[in-house]
């Protein structure tokens, strides 16, 4: 069964489960179990599928719908739920926004990572809003070379690089830099560097035409 693109994209964006169900119904998929099976089958073929916890939530919603209607849940849904019960908690998950694939601290299992690193490994609201602002005003600025300070998971800087700007993404904490480098690995115009606010590399600053900061103050 083909999955409507709008439904698949929402599935990938990990929208709230209720919204996903609404979207499925809006596309005529009145039976959630059928939609869930199709989406879970789709996930099996993805290079970076939605995290298991999210797929398990979809499967559980489908099973609940089956219980309410007296139907039998599919083997696929049951298998995903069993997988989720057996899997060890993962600190990280993969999400994609605006075409930027990110490894971020999984909010459901974030308790095991604390301190400064836990801040730099999350995706924060200001980054999302800053990216939207840049997207709407991209032509208003000289975006030839960008320096992002306190880049964290790198969403803003990586979006700039994907839009054609030579971008240096900087942070300070080792584990944040390691994760940032992973996220930037496949983005040609993006480079990652350590940057100490108290002893800044003057070269980075002098080269930048646009300096970006999200949630630094």
């Amino acid at each position: 069964m083909a999955v409507p693109p709008a439904l698949a994209s929402r599935f990938l964006m990990l929208v709230p489960m209720a919204d996903l169900v609404d979207c499925a119904q809006a596309h005529g998929w009145t039976r959630l179990p059928a939609a869930a099976d199709a989406l879970l089958a789709l996930a099996d073929g993805m290079a970076k599928p939605p995290p298991l916890w999210y797929r398990a939530r979809l499967a559980k919603a489908a099973v609940s719908a089956c219980e309410a209607s007296g139907d039998s849940p599919s083997d696929l849904c049951l298998d995903v739920i069993v997988q989720s019960l057996r899997a060890p908690p993962s600190d990280f998950c993969h999400v994609t926004f605006e075409g930027i694939a990110l490894r971020v601290l999984d909010p459901k299992h974030a308790g095991s990572v604390t301190g400064d690193a836990s801040i730099g490994l999350r995706l924060w609201p200001a980054a999302l809003v800053l990216q939207q602002y840049l997207k709407a005003n991209w032509d208003a600025f000289d975006c030839g070379s960008v320096l992002e300070i306190g880049a964290g998971v790198g969403f803003v800087g990586l979006w700039c690089a994907s839009a054609g700007a030579r971008t240096v993404l900087t942070d300070y904490n080792d584990s944040v830099l390691d994760n940032l480098a992973r996220n930037a690995a496949d983005v040609p115009l993006a480079t990652v560097a350590r940057f100490d606010w108290h002893a800044p590399d003057a070269g980075f600053v002098a080269d930048a035409r646009l300096v970006l900061m999200a949630d630094c103050v």
Partner: protein, 99 residues
């Protein structure tokens, strides 16, 4: 659905604890911004924090007349994502352009 959330870290009103509540860090960042401006760069800053003390440390190093508050865009999907990821509403976020 998410714990701990940004909402748990955000202080709902006035002076609170921000990402960089260290006044020294914020002062260094302010000096850094001034350095970038001196090289002709434009600085765009987004902040969800309302920590007046650290903001004051930052602004002490930045000529306030160079700072413009811009309208923060809130499209449909960031709001949806915010609810998913950190359960924080986007209207906490302000955009500042410094040139």
């Amino acid at each position: 659905m998410c714990a701990p959330t940004a909402a748990a870290l955000l202080t709902p009103s006035g002076a609170g604890v921000g990402v960089n509540s260290d006044p020294g860090d914020c002062a260094a960042l302010g000096a850094l911004v001034e350095l970038a401006l001196s090289h002709g760069a434009i600085v765009i800053m987004a902040s969800a924090w309302r920590n007046e003390a650290t903001m004051a440390q930052f602004l002490a190093h930045v000529d306030g007349s160079r700072l413009t508050k811009a309208a923060a865009p809130v499209s449909e999907w960031p709001v949806r994502c915010l609810h998913m990821i950190e359960n924080v509403i986007a209207d906490n976020v302000q955009i500042y352009v410094i040139r």
